[in-house]
Amino acid sequence: MSFLPYAVAAWVMGVGLYGIVTSRDLLHLVICLSVMQSASYLLLLSIGYVDDAQAPIFADVPLSTRAVDPVVQALTLTDVVVGTTVTALLLALAVQAQKRYGTLDPRELRPARERLDG
């Protein structure tokens, strides 16, 4: 089943995307985006995995030990930081939406002009 981790990554992304499309609450939407983003962590780490290898930490083990790829793990750390910052910014926008329009339902957040007409 060497394909399974990639399939899980695709599935997690699909689930997150479905959540975003059907979301009725901005906070729920931000969490769905985080779920989607975790698919990329899974994909990166799966790519760098090596069978029967240990983590790339060489404390008290010989240098010739097989280890998984450290580069994708470093990339995943960057990915996590980017995910956190995006979440923080979107949550700040959600706070402002609640303060201005009194709702967190994206369907009720219509453009200002449309609001005046309807």
């Binding site: 060497s2 399974l4 479905y18 790339p56 060489f58 470093a74 750390l77 996590v80 930081v81 219509r110």
Partner: protein, 259 residues
């Protein structure tokens, strides 16, 4: 657009996306079979070259230090973004944290939460510093330790209240930590340019493998990033909590009724 139409449009798009993803994934190496040259080489050279036993940290703060500086700036930009989105706008006022419904019975924070929360503050700070300091030896580093350190402030909020939290970690101190950490990390990069000839060149002595003060500039970078991340996260926590004290004036809610 009705929900049904929207979902069917999404379904078509998702099918296309999943098809493309499956096609792309088919070109990936089999799971567990990756033989990327850079990872393999780094796993062999990081310990002899840099005395760093955690190769991920060696990649982040040395071989790929320039990228991590950009990553640190992403965090900084996000902190600035949160600060400007959540700034006090016209028509808003900050009020004392008085109770909206003074009549209701509010259960006080239980003694268990207070004692356990306060008791955990010191161990949390210790663990955070440990994780930052041992970044070059074991899993951890400035980013991970910084987040743990920022949660100490959250524990104070949990066991006391927002005003106590502000008194313990005043916003000016938090901003100072964020700015100093970011600047120090950039200066460490510049020092490599001056002393070694390349940005983020690891010019300090490598030390003994496994020592706390080994790996040259990597522990310094970890400390700088740890300070910046602590400041950044503490700032964002503080900003979001501050919002509970901010209210728009009632007369500006007129537009809401017409919607």
């Amino acid at each position: 657009m009705s929900d049904r139409v929207r979902l069917s449009v999404f379904g078509v798009g998702l099918a296309g996306l999943l098809g493309l993803m499956l096609w792309a994934f088919a070109g990936l190496p089999d799971f567990g079979d990756y033989a990327g040259p850079y990872g393999y080489i780094l796993n062999r050279v990081a310990v002899p070259e840099r005395s760093t036993t955690d190769v991920v940290t060696a990649v982040n703060f040395d071989y790929r230090g320039f990228d991590t500086l950009a990553e640190e700036f992403i965090l900084f930009a996000s902190v600035v973004g949160v600060a400007s989105i959540l700034r006090t706008l016209r028509g808003e006022r900050t009020r004392a944290p008085d109770d909206d419904a003074a009549g209701r019975r509010v259960p006080e924070t239980s003694l268990t939460v207070r004692v356990a929360g306060l008791g955990l503050v010191a161990p949390t700070i210790l663990v955070g510093i440990y994780i930052v300091a041992h970044g070059q030896l074991t899993p951890g580093g400035g980013f991970q330790g910084g987040v743990i350190l920022a949660t100490a402030l959250l524990l104070i909020y949990l066991s006391a209240d927002y005003m106590t939290m502000r008194a313990v970690g005043p916003i000016s101190l938090i901003e100072l930590a964020e700015g100093l950490g970011g600047a120090a990390f950039a200066l460490i990069g510049l020092s490599g340019l001056i002393a070694g000839g390349a940005f983020f060149q690891n010019w300090l002595g490598k030390g003994t493998v496994g020592d706390l003060l080994s790996s040259g500039t990597i522990p310094l970078s970890n400390a700088a990033v740890g300070l910046a991340v602590t400041g950044g996260f503490a700032f964002m926590l503080s900003e979001f909590l501050q919002q509970t004290l901010t209210r728009r004036r009632v007369r500006r809610r007129r537009s809401r009724r017409s919607a």
